[in-house]
Amino acid sequence: MVKYIGKRLVYMFLTMFLIATATFFLMQTLPGSPIASYSKLNESQRAIVEKKYGIDKPKPVQYAIYMKNLAKGDLGTSFVFKGKSVNDLLSTRLKPSMVLGAQAMVFGTLIGILLGMLAALRQNTFWDYGSTFLAILGSSIPSFVFASLLQYWVASQWHLLPVGLWNDGWKSSILPSIALAMGPLAMAARFIRTEMIEVLSSDYITLAKAKGANGFEIAFKHAFRNALIPLITVLGPVTAGLVTGSLVIEQIFAIPGIGEQFVSSIMTNDHATIMGTTLLFSVFLIVVIFIVDILYGIIDPRIRLSGGKG
């Protein structure tokens, strides 16, 4: 176990180093300069600005400085929001994204589990087909299409909830959370259905039936708990999907989160912020996948985490 964790940590650092390096050099090849918006500057003024942001030095030196700061957790200074550090910029935007992500995750997974259980317990009935259909819709319809339609009908036509922004307390988070939740919902529903059906046909369920346990007890006490464990494995892809979704959903609902910042930084060529956001997303996803793998090994002792190749 310790050997496995150690090996994974080494790979995580390698991956992060690779991402940081690749991002840095890709940024240098980007068409358009981060100080293009300072077009009214003359030669000497431009030189001052370049010196201020440290982009007058040769590339390898810039790279070394960037990596050194990164090791200290400093993501640099934004080019667009003058003088503001990327750390400050992103930290103020962290909360809305986290709230949305957490709500979508909890809401989607819970409803998905219920739908999946319903489908498995009432196999080949209306409930099964209904929840399977919903799961297919959820995994097929792109989140931004679903979000646009929600925004049009619920917010703009029926005036039930705010159209966007983050100024109406919890109410403003409902629609974007629902739009984001469709992915986890679909994934959980399909997964739990398959697992439950498999578990329900196993010997210990037959034993539980034989000793006279009622349907409810069998479903929740015996089947559900065992079907739930493998659900942890899909948490990784689900989280990746949430991050992807947050980019467009935050854009659509004009939510001041990390995803919205990323997209607008791309539009304004704000290199430092693009790099910072990229690294933040990467660290987040890599850590989530790492935790998921470790958790899975702890919860289900049948899984042997091996140091070798698998």
Partner: protein
């Protein structure tokens, strides 16, 4: 009770010997793996319907742009922002060219003195949305298919080489994959698209640059499973070379799983293209794809919801169809499910 000897003649007590040859006879025609899979796929109603829907959409993507005589990039400012109007159906009170104008329902075709029909309406530049929709579908499908084929070729080659040759080759190739797989797809796609000139090629490259990893891992696992089996050993004993073993013995066995995986790569690619175009870093105007059309529609959603509606329906139906066919194929081709 007395038995009537007349009713039970001695012949009835003779042994009936089964002919050895007929005992081994197979009464049903034997089915190949693919015939068997096809039989199972045909029973899956959702998959069959999806195949027809998908074929229809592909057909429309090719003939749709030529159906109504309007061209997709011809701008007719006088005809801008017209709602949908379809001959025949207009009499039912829907798609009759009536749209909102300052809060009132007005027949915009009458008002703007337009005699032609725009089946799905026009956009702000007076371009026919029906034609643009199918042109966009064509481009989206093209991107998805090409990206999936690239994923397939690289993934099968990489996974195949790594799994088949094993040893040091495998070690090095798998270490590379382990690092690459940690990088979130989304990040790679966006970074790649930023450094290339926007366009179809950029999107295809961005999608395939890490897309092959999933395929390569599946292929490697399968190759590892099959290459140590007896039929491969037998073939090698009889003098077959690596080339023959790979093409004749290993490939046919992993083909099923490769097809299933590709069926799930295609909708993934359609999604990523639309996603990139939606946030504005995908295809650039005047080119149309489902993503750019949805983006255009989203901007005017408040006033002309139909601009958003039609491409949204097409992309959703397309994704659902691909996913259902993929599910059906998985059930049909996966031998574990065989009863």
């Amino acid at each position: 009770m007395q038995l009537d000897k007349q009713q039970l003649p001695p012949e009835k007590f003779e042994r009936v010997a089964i002919d050895n040859e007929s005992a081994e006879r197979i009464t049903k025609p034997s089915l190949s793996f693919w015939q068997d899979a096809w039989l199972r796929l045909r029973k899956n109603k959702a998959a069959v319907v999806s195949i027809f829907v998908l074929l229809l959409l592909i057909l429309m993507a090719f003939i749709g742009p030529h159906l109504n005589g309007h061209s997709g990039d011809h701008q007719e400012i006088r005809h801008a922002n017209l709602p949908p109007k379809i001959p025949g159906i207009e009499k039912l009170g829907i798609f009759d060219g009536v749209g909102n104008m300052g809060g009132q329902k007005v027949d915009l075709y009458e008002m703007k003195k337009v005699d032609e029909y725009y089946w799905f309406g026009t956009d702000g530049l007076g371009r026919d949305l029906f034609t643009r929709l199918w042109e966009g579908t064509q481009i989206s499908l093209f991107i998805a298919f090409v990206a999936s084929i690239i994923d397939l070729v690289i993934g099968v080659a990489y996974g195949g080489i790594s799994g088949y040759f094993g040893g040091r080759t495998d070690d090095i190739m798998q270490r590379i994959v382990e690092i690459l797989i940690g990088i979130p797809t989304l990040i790679v796609v966006i970074l790649m698209i930023l450094i290339m000139d926007p366009g179809i090629m950029a999107i295809i490259i961005a999608i395939s640059i890490t897309g092959w990893i999933g395929m390569s891992r599946i292929v490697r696992a399968q190759i590892l499973k099959y290459k140590s089996q007896e039929f491969v050993l037998a073939s090698r004993t009889l003098g077959a070379g690596d080339g023959r073993i790979i093409t004749k013995h290993l490939m046919p066995n992993i083909l099923g799983i490769v097809i299933i995986n590709t069926m799930f790569t295609i909708p993934g690619a359609i999604f990523f293209e639309a996603f990139l175009s939606f946030i504005g870093i995908g295809l650039q105007p005047p080119a149309a794809s489902l993503g750019t059309l949805i983006n255009d529609g989203y901007k005017v959603m408040e006033f002309q919801p139909y601009v958003l509606l039609f491409p949204s329906i097409v992309i959703s139906v397309l994704m659902i169809a691909f996913n259902l066919i993929g599910d059906g194929l998985r059930d049909a081709l996966d031998p574990k499910m065989k009863d």
